[in-house]
């Protein structure tokens, strides 16, 4: 009798034991570790930006007092205005605004041209294989491993012969060509992930090379186009080497101009203006990231990583 009641008790115990989700402690060692490290790393990355913003909002006397981490006592936007419209580079004293518009004029046609050509390249390499298309692709990929510096001089000669040296058009051409390997790879990998049957169905439906490209492929590949735009905008906007080599002072892109402002040897080092100018220059890629961040991640996940 006693035995039996004991057994009953045990079954009740088993039933009232752990059930459902296992509770987790919020302040476990694991969590402290993870969030602690994350916090430190983000501080490390945010600090330079903090210093830049603060410095750019201070007047020179305040900067000379030191305390680079301290917020400004007296907020002034003058450095920003000066950086944009009246900082001197060489003989010109119209600030970064000239470089900004030069960069825009370089950026828009380069991005458009390189993406247009590379997407058609990728599409043709996947869906319209021709004799030697694999070889062509290999050569193209090889191109992305060659350091740019090696090709500078030959390109100078080529541009001179084409009559494009020192012109915006020349720089646009160079940017489009150099964007080709990585962009073609990007598009090819994305289009590989589009089911082949879709392409076959479109052919049975009577669509040709361009018909399939514009009506089927293009509408399906917005994410990868966003990725390409971001890559190209950041790449071309931040480019310094090609800008300084293939253009002349009146059409220098913003990065070159920024360098000339910051690295000027004469006169007082205007840290606040330099900081403001640097941030102005970095603004365009930043804005693009913020606008299209979500699509960017989706595009990367959709095709860029797959082999």
């Amino acid at each position: 009798m006693l035995e039996a009641s004991k057994m009953v008790d045990r079954t009740v115990d088993a039933m009232s034991g752990p059930r459902g989700k296992k509770p987790k402690k919020a302040l476990s060692g694991r969590n402290i570790m993870i969030y602690g490290i994350l916090l430190m790393v983000s501080l490390y990355y945010i600090l330079p930006l903090w210093v830049m913003v603060m410095t750019s909002l201070k007047g020179m006397p305040e900067i000379r007092m030191g305390n680079i981490f301290a917020p400004p006592v007296e907020i002034t936007f003058e450095p920003w205005v000066k950086a944009w419209s009246s900082a001197c580079t060489g003989l010109n004293c119209d600030g970064l605004s000239r470089g900004f518009w030069n960069s825009v004029q370089i950026l828009i046609p380069s991005v458009f041209l390189s993406i247009a050509i590379a997407s058609v390249n990728g599409y043709a390499l996947v869906n319209w294989k021709f004799k030697g298309s694999e070889l062509f692709f290999t050569i193209l990929i090889f191109g992305s491993f060659i350091p740019y510096q090696i090709m500078l001089y030959p390109i100078v000669i080529m541009l001179r012969e084409l009559g494009l040296y020192g012109k915006l058009g020349g720089l646009v051409l160079v940017h489009s060509v150099f964007g080709m390997p990585i962009l073609t790879l990007l598009f090819r990998n994305y289009f590989t992930s589009v089911p082949e049957e879709l392409f076959k169905a479109a052919r049975v439906d009577g669509a040709g090379f361009w018909g399939i490209y514009f009506r089927i492929m293009l509408p399906m590949s917005l994410p990868i186009f966003v990725v390409a735009v971001i890559l190209q905008v950041t790449g071309i906007w931040n480019d310094f080497l090609f800008g300084v080599v293939f253009t002349k002072p009146s059409i220098y892109p913003m990065t070159v101009q920024l360098n000339n402002i910051v690295n000027s040897v004469q006169g007082v080092k205007e840290y606040n203006v330099n900081m403001a100018a640097t941030m102005l220059t970095g603004l365009v890629p930043l804005v693009i990231y913020f606008i299209s961040g979500k699509l960017f991640v989706r595009g990367i996940a959709a095709g860029a990583v797959k082999g």
């Binding site: 169905a201 049975v204 009577g206």
Partner: protein, 359 residues
Amino acid sequence: MTYSVQIKDLDLHFGAVKVLQGLNLNISEGEFIVLLGSSGCGKSTLLNCVAGLLEPTDGQIFIKGNNVTWEEPSKRGIGMVFQSYALYPQMTVRGNMSFGLKNAKVPKAEIETRVNRAAEILQITHLLDRKPSALSGGQRQRVAIGRALVRDVDVFLFDEPLSNLDAKLRADLRVELKRLHNQLKNTMIYVTHDQVEAMTLADRIAIMKGGVIMQLGSPDEIYNRPQNRYVADFIGSPSMNFLDGEYRNGTFVKGDLSIPVQGYAFATQPVEGGAITVGIRPEHIVTGPLVASAPYRTTTTVDLVEPMGSDTLVWAKIAGEPFRIRMDGQATVAVGDTLEIGIDPSRASVFDAKSEERL
């Protein structure tokens, strides 16, 4: 006589791999042909050649008497339905169905009528303004069929259209496809690896292996008179039992087993003492009271029982070989039971053991 589709000496090689070899196939007007085979047998490749999506290495393809070997897919008078549906994701159902007609520059009013008519036949009128992502698998496949339907083509090509659907939906759509064929009377070429689809849908089945057609015939012929051991083994589930032995004086002999095969209609008489294979379908082996009337009777022991509801599959051994017997689903049978079975040699298939051809 002009055939609807005529394939002449078709070869297709990918490098050193010969996917299709000297393939000939004539398909009559309004016929439902099923290309059946395991994966890699070249059935989809053949279909893609007919569609013009793959270029043959050699040979010719005629559709309605026209040589279309070098013709673009859209100019061949074919409509194709794919396994993955291949609907254009950014277009509505209506857009999907009218895409081909727009490319062919058909007038708008005509497109409207044709799309509506096809939608009515397939009962998808209420879905016309939806995107493919808002449709179920069965609905998507219906739209894919509709896309082929609006183009008013002579020949429909189906590339495993039901393989992506679940079992119940597959059975439903199979019936619908058959109904559609009865209604439209178009020529249809249908690729599948599912033998039930092949048996139920086809006027004629072509069983393929290694790029050649092993047998072309009606489902009845394929099932009851397989031309070779491969076909016999491939068709039927559970598959046929094979016994390898010798032919001696009108009897099949294997060890101490001897089955009289006088009742069997030999196409070519086997050589005395020649090696032959007898194939017996599990469902052609009788048990219970029917055994008494069977020409050949024996007993065996049950090794394993697989109840499948509608029927029960029993594994036993005959002359040391594993043997499948299909019994009624209500039969009470347990492992270790002694089972009396009867075989009718006239329903069996006999093959030459060497050439594996039917005798």
